[in-house]
Amino acid sequence: MGKLLTDSKRLNVAIILALIILIFSLLTSLIYAIFGTFMPYHIAFTGKTESDVSAYDTELMILIGIFIRLMGIYGIALFVANLFILLFGFRKKEKWAWFYYLISGCIIFGSYLIITFQVLGLSIMYLTFIVMTVLWIIALAISYKEFF
């Protein structure tokens, strides 16, 4: 894989910012994939604990658990794909990699910020999403001239 950083200062900052976002997404995904259960903010949103939902309908809680776990699993898979694109595309100043981060970031950050606000509100988790979105915008903006 060679060394991680390049001879461009701007690109190096962008790579480091991207790595911070990736590590955050990996940690969050691991928690979801391993535990596959309600997080405290889920309980606050639904007003019910996992045992409340299970008592009402076991199948329903199994379905919810599967979806929470799948979010974690797909998050880990996305981490791997994004890491490969960072190392073998973005780091080598490939235009397609910059466009990929633009498109995937719009989908992921855009959807998270809009959809999860209902559940998270202005919690620390949601504010962390906002910080990650800002880091992503900075990474793309400062690296733009290196690609085009």
């Binding site: 889920h42 309908d57 329903l60 599967i66 699993i73 898979a77 073998f88």
Partner: protein
Amino acid sequence: MGKILTDSKRLNIAIILLLIANLIVIITGILYVIMGFLPYHERIIGKSPSRVDSSVMNFIYIIIRVNGFMFITLGVSGIYLLFAGFRKKEKWAWINGLIVVALATFPTTILVFDPTFAMPFPLTLSLLIMVIIALIISYKEFFK
């Protein structure tokens, strides 16, 4: 991205299989985002959404939509990796495919396993088989 196919028959079959698999993932993601709750979800819980507590149901709609957006992003990344790396016989693209199968497609198939072959198990199983075949038949093109 240039032309889609290469001069290798094996690699072309692998590219087509992976392209179909990624398109299925994107279409499923779009369905999840638009509909939020599919008929097979209703069958699994054995009741209509109107009979489930509204806050719990809202939560389910949200996590299904988030999963949908993740499907779409995974499909997009898969197509980028397919054309930017896999088509050019880059080893890292093949290894990435293997890791994603091991981390996402295989566990998903296990999670949604259904002995009656009801949805979504046949879909995830087909995806798993398609990707494994694509990786096996293209192996020699990457690691000669």
